[in-house]
Structures are given as C-alpha cells and as structure tokens.
Symmetry: C2
Subunit: 444 residues, 2 copies
C-alpha cells in the first residue's frame, strides 16, 4: 500500500488462497497475534487502523494465576496503554480488503515461489491449484515471505551472506478455553493471563468470541517436557497440578493437546537484507523473532514505515533507499530479536522471584512519580514508537536509578515509604542533570 500510494504498479504473489473467500483452504490455523502502538501507528498511516482495532480485543495488563489463586492485576504503565489481540487471519483479511481499493495493486493467489533469479529479479511460481509454472519479472522484488523465506535462501548462496537461525529449547502448543455455559469468557477478556511456573508457562489471550487461546510453553525434552507428556492422563495431571483453575474450563484438553503439534521457536538474523538496487527482505524474512514480546507483526509493519521514510529521503534512488533502510532498521530488529528471546525467562519467573517483583513495584512507583522521565523498558517497546535501540539505551541509563534503590538497606519494607520517596526525588534530579534528557522521538 505504501508503494501503491507512490503510484508504483504492485504485484502481490501469495502461496495460499484468497483469505476473503470464506472457504479459502490451506491457510495456517488462525493464531493470535498482538498489535501495539508501534504497529497501529503504521496501520493508521495507511488508513486502516480503525477497521483493525474493531477486530481486536484490548488487553490492559497482566494477571498472574498462582496455584493458590489469582494474583493482583498488573496494569501496563499508568496511561491505559493496551495490547490488541487479534486473529492473524482476521488482520490479514482486513488488510486485503483495504489493499483491494488500490487499482495499481494486483493479487495473484495460490502461487508458490519455487525459484528466484536475483540478478534479473525474476521469480518462478507454481500454481498450487493447476501446477502450472510461470515466470514473473519486475524491477524490484520485496521478499515478505516470512521466517522461512525462499528469496532469502537464494541470497544465502551469495558470498559473504551472514545468517543465523537459533532455536529455543522450548516450544509451544496452542489450546482453547471455550466460552462458559453462561456464554461468558472463563477469565477476564481484557487481561493477559499468565501461569508462570519457573521452567514452563501457560499464557492466554481472549479472542473476539470470548474464547481464550492459551499457549503451553514447555521444553521439548527433559523431566517435564513435550516428550514426557505421553498419555492423556499425563496432560490432565499437569493441568490439575500446575494450572488447576483452567481444568474445569477445558473439556477437550486431552483431545486438543494430541491433535496439535508443538511449534518450535526460532530467532533468525541475517545480512545484507538487500541485493543491489533490486531486492529487499522485509518483515520476518529479514528478522524472525520469538513471540514473547508480542513484537513480530509490529516490527514488520514498522519496516514498511521506515522504508517509506527512506523513499522520502532518496526518491527512487533505490540503491540509497535500500542501504538506508537496512542501516536504520537492522540494529533495531537485532535488538528486539534478542530481547524477545530473553523475555521468556522474565515471563516464567514472574511469581517466583521476590527481588524481581520488588524491582517491578519500585519501577512502577518511580514511573508514577515521574511518568515522563522514567518509563519502564516494556512500555517503551510496546507503548511508544521510539526505535528499539533508543529505548534500550534509555533503559541502560535509567536502570541505575532502580539499582541504587534496590541496594538500600531494608528496601523490602521501606520501598513505599515517604523516606524512600525522598530518595527517589534526589536520584531522579541527579539522573536528569547527568543526562540531557531527550523527550523528542525520532523514528529515523
């Protein structure tokens, strides 16, 4: 759409059928994804944000389920920030409907890319219905073909292409908590539900129909793992012991568990993203990340926005556009890839580590006192459009304040006292005088 707006003729080749058809076959089971400020701003920029917001369920904070009962609600920041949970298929359908309004975008469905000639930007496509193979040449080729990108595989054959794929030892299985007999969601629909258990995790988001999709994160191998859960009884026992409040709401637990396979989790990084002034990787094809920070789709949409900014700068000098695009984006997507992989540990340990929880409470307190100065890293990532690397740099500086508070004697008892509040004021004044604090946000 960004390209069509600039009056380029755009051809979109899609391996699966037209999602707008109700009977469209072959698509992946519809998984949940989360949109946040970063992604929504880009969708707003192309005029489709409101349509998509209507399809999404806002989530205003986290709720930890302990084996002994519900923990307190932990709101995201102090400003009604929300994540928006949406079905992948519904998001794509809305985007397709919007894109169809551009006369210079042509869609080609059921076309699987089977060969790429980078030097001539020619791709070979096989029709999944008819088997017919056709070739398509274009001046520019954007590879938005996902974490297992075919185009990237051809770029890998070039000399000095850097590439890494790193899998977590963990995987996940998606399961469903249907609406209750009363037609209501089993748990609050506007909360992210977390069952953190140290080395494993259950995580749930409500869908538009009030069912809840939960993801069970487990190691692939080991004492308690996908490999160790062999029988329906094993699965039921795990849920009874570890997630007791879900069991009454999951009538099909065992059937569903064994009907679905465990998905693996990969982080993909590579460079260069671009080939001369002809080919560019974009979205997951350029940077596959794990879902723990909810940033995958958002980072992909942001790629489009940044690429459009580079077009503003360099006109149709595509060599410069591409070089700038990679230079601006890659450090940011490398960072979110690393952060996302680390964040799993944080999600898992959320109930078990009292120092960690104290740190979060103190962070929230400092943020309440100085909402424009001290913003937790999670909020900068999810609820701002600040570049990821800039967010991380600010976090590196500001975390010194929290380190010093955590080092105070008996901080466990005193953290909410007037006395400590006075120390917070002093530390923040010091912080502000040390750093010429940049309030402005610049995306590129």
């Amino acid at each position: 759409m960004y390209l069509a707006r600039r009056e380029y003729q755009v051809d979109v080749f899609e391996r699966y059928s037209d999602l707008r058809r109700l009977d469209a076959p072959g698509h992946r089971a519809s998984i949940s994804m989360t949109l946040c400020q970063r992604g929504l701003q880009v969708l707003g920029d192309i005029g489709v944000e409101e349509a998509i917001r209507l399809l999404a369920v806002p989530v205003y904070g986290r709720r930890v389920h302990m084996t002994t009962g519900l923990g307190p609600f932990q709101p995201y920041g102090n400003r009604d920030e929300a994540l928006y949970n949406i079905s992948r298929n519904e998001l794509n359908r809305a985007l397709l409907l919007h894109a169809a309004c551009f006369p210079n975008i042509r869609f080609h469905y059921d076309e699987k890319c089977i060969d790429v000639d980078l030097a001539t930007t020619t791709i070979s496509l096989q029709n999944m219905q008819t088997g017919v193979i056709t070739r398509h040449h274009s001046d520019l080729l954007f590879a938005a073909d996902g974490a297992y990108s075919v185009v990237r595989r051809y770029m890998q054959r070039l000399d000095r292409f850097n590439y890494s794929q790193r899998y977590l030892d963990y995987g996940y299985r998606e399961l469903t908590i249907p609406v209750t007999a009363m037609g209501e969601p089993a748990f609050d629909r506007n909360e992210l539900h977390l069952w953190p258990r140290g080395h494993y995790l259950l995580l749930g988001f409500a869908n538009r129909d009030d069912s809840i999709t939960v993801s069970l994160f487990l190691p692939f191998a080991g004492a308690l793992s996908f490999a160790s859960l062999q029988t329906p009884e094993d699965v039921r026992q795990l849920f009874a012991q570890s997630f007791p409040d879900t069991l009454a709401h999951m009538p099909w637990l065992e059937e569903e568990y064994f009907a679905r396979s465990a998905n693996s989790l990969v982080t993909i990084q590579c460079s260069p993203w671009v080939y001369r002034d002809r080919v560019a990787l974009i979205g997951d094809a350029a940077h596959g990340i794990v879902p723990y920070y909810g940033q995958g789709a958002n980072a992909g949409f942001e790629d489009c926005f940044i690429l459009d900014c580079c077009l503003d700068r360099h006109g149709n000098n595509w060599q410069s556009v591409f070089a700038d695009y990679e230079m601006l984006r890659k450090p940011n997507t490398d960072l979110i890839g690393d952060l996302a992989a680390q964040h799993f540990t944080e999600l898992c340990d959320r109930v078990n580590d009292s120092r960690f929880l104290l740190r979060k409470q103190i962070e929230r307190k400092v943020n309440q006192l100085y909402p424009n100065v001290y913003i937790p890293i999670y909020s900068m990532i999810a609820f701002s459009s600040r570049p990821y690397t800039q967010a991380m740099e600010i976090e590196r500086r500001q975390s010194v304040v929290i380190d010093r508070l955590m080092a105070l004697d008996q901080i466990e008892e005193r953290w909410n006292s007037a006395e400590v509040e006075q120390i917070i004021h002093e530390l923040i004044q010091e912080f502000l005088s040390d750093h010429c604090y940049e309030e402005t946000v610049s995306l590129v």
Copy 2:
C-alpha cells in the same frame, strides 16, 4: 584411521582426485596451514607425527616488521614451543599414504556428494570424471566435508537445527616471496613474519623450499581495501609505503595480486552435530573458524581424538558416543571460533598500542618467574592440549594478576624492577591461595 583401528570397514569418498598422483587435478591451490601441540599429539596417536613433522617448517616466535625496520624477536613462551607450518596438500598426502596401510579403508576418488538421505544414511555420489551417479549406504556417516558441508545442508532442513555463518569484513589474498638470488629465504624461515598496520596486516610463513607465503589481510570495501586497489600501481604503492622491506623480494607482486582472488573468512557454528546414532559432523563441517589462531586443522584432528575417547567410554553404543562427543567438543570449538575471530585485532594492533605491548612484556616476565603457574592464553591454546574452554577459564582467573600489575603507578618505567618483581611474587601467592590450582590436564 581411528575407526579402522577398531576394525570398522571404512569407505572414504573424496570429491577430488587421488592426491598421491603427481598430476592430480582439481585440488585447491596448496595453502599453508599450521600444526601445533594439539594436532601433532593426535597425529602421534595414530603414528604419523614424525612423518609429518619432517614436512613442516617449525616457527619459534613472531617477528614484527615496522616501516622503520625489524622489531625484536618475540619467542613463543619460554620452552622452545613451535608452530609447524605445512602445505595442506603435503599434509593430506602424508595422511593418505599412512591410511593406505589399513586394509579396511577403501578410497573412492572423484566422487562428489550430491544428495544425502539422513534417515537411511544413504548418500548419492556423482563421479567427476564419468558423470555416473551411484548410491552408497552405510551404518554410520561421518561428514568431514568442510565448512560448506553438503551433509550439514541436509541436516539444516530438520526442525530446530541451529546454524550461523558470520563473515568478517576482511578477506585475504595469498602472495609469494620467492627465494633470493642466493637461494636463501628472504626472511628468517623459523619466524612468523608480521607486518601489522592497525587496520590491515601482512603475515608470512616460510615454506619447505624457503619461499615465503604471505597473506595480505584487507577489508573488502572502504578507503584502503581490496575494492580500492584497482591498478598494478595501487598495489605497488601500498607495498612500497606499508611493507617496504618486502618489495625488493616480490618481482611478480602485481601479476600475482591480480591473478588470485580475495578469499572471504567465515565462522560457522551449528547444533546438533549429530543425527540419532547414524550421522556426525566433524572438523570444519561442524565448526568453520577463521585462520588467525592457526587452530582450524588442529581442532579438527582433536575432534577425532575425542570421538575415539567416547568410543572407549561407550563401546559401539553410537547414540551415547555421538551425544557425548557433541557435549564435550562443541563448547570448545565454539570458543576457539570466537577467539580466532577476535585474534585478528590483536595481530593488527601489535605495534601500535604501547599499553598492549607492555601487557605482553609483563605477561612474559610473570611466565618466566612462574613457568608452571602463569601460562599466557596463546601458549595454552597453541602449546598444550588443555581443552580450549579450560584454557579460557584459567586465563579469566590469571588475568587479574596482570590487571593489577598494569594498574600500578608508573608501571611503564618500573615493570622490570626488583620492586615490581616482589609485587609479582605476592600477587602469585595470593592467586595460588585463591585458586586450588589444577596442574593436571584432562582432555575429556
């Protein structure tokens, strides 16, 4: 040979022709490689060390060439340790001659692997002379097919295969300094010759015929780079300015420069190395590293030794043999891969950083005073068979001693004084009481 010694029937498939034939075509130009203690010990274990030592040129230390003249000779350690420079083809020829003595090793030359079926350990081979394709099944498959391993490419298609290939921005071109008109080597044949120039480097080893092979390390792109050297004059000017003492000895400099292409430098890491109890990656196929530490071949030979140790432990339970092999080896080869990539900077900066040189001098002094306690990391890597990870752990602890010496006031002037020597004694006593120092070396 390790396998043949255990009476396995071994089939070796080699893409190129039999190197023992004088006219064997298709082999890579013979590059130099270095053997050290680690590799020689393994060669000794299979009874071929002496034969190979005779083909190698021992190098007892480094000689830095500055633009103003020769620097002092820097011996490796204090114990006559040496690196052994050998031509890759001569090394391989000697190994082939030795292997031919085993009746249960069969060689298949000119056979290129074009397909691998991991599940049935069946490989398809195309004969490079006749074009005929054959299939070969075996119970076990060892992929010793190098950094661009075909077998590994098939393993990469399995789920959750971790893989990374990282290229340096630098490459190298090999050039020759022939023997002088007097029939002598242009520079001392038993020294590693270094022309470190901060951002680039020339490095030379003498060959058996007293010619010297030098490698020019330059960035691929930038102000001074392989891309910037366009004409014979550019090349001559670089050598005249940066490596003036070589110029008189390089009559074919420009022709040779443009006749050879620049080689890229890649670090490859992956996991798993093994597939069930059937397939194992070994050598560069499992861990491609850059040549700066001279450890590539040594690490590959060590793989064989460790695999043999695992066979001692687990008999022919190959599932356990392979699991143990990967567990013992991978942390070590990951480490040497990282160290080798970093070592380039150390080689380049060797003349420019006076603090760095002082640190090396102090290290040497401490090593002279305590030759069995303080051993520089380079010596532990090159002149011992200590596992790489263990060497690094010891370095982490012992470097504190040098850090504290470097922090002394006016250490630049005082480092060789009796006073500082007294401090060294105290620090080492402290170090010895802090760490229960392990003198024993255990390989596995």
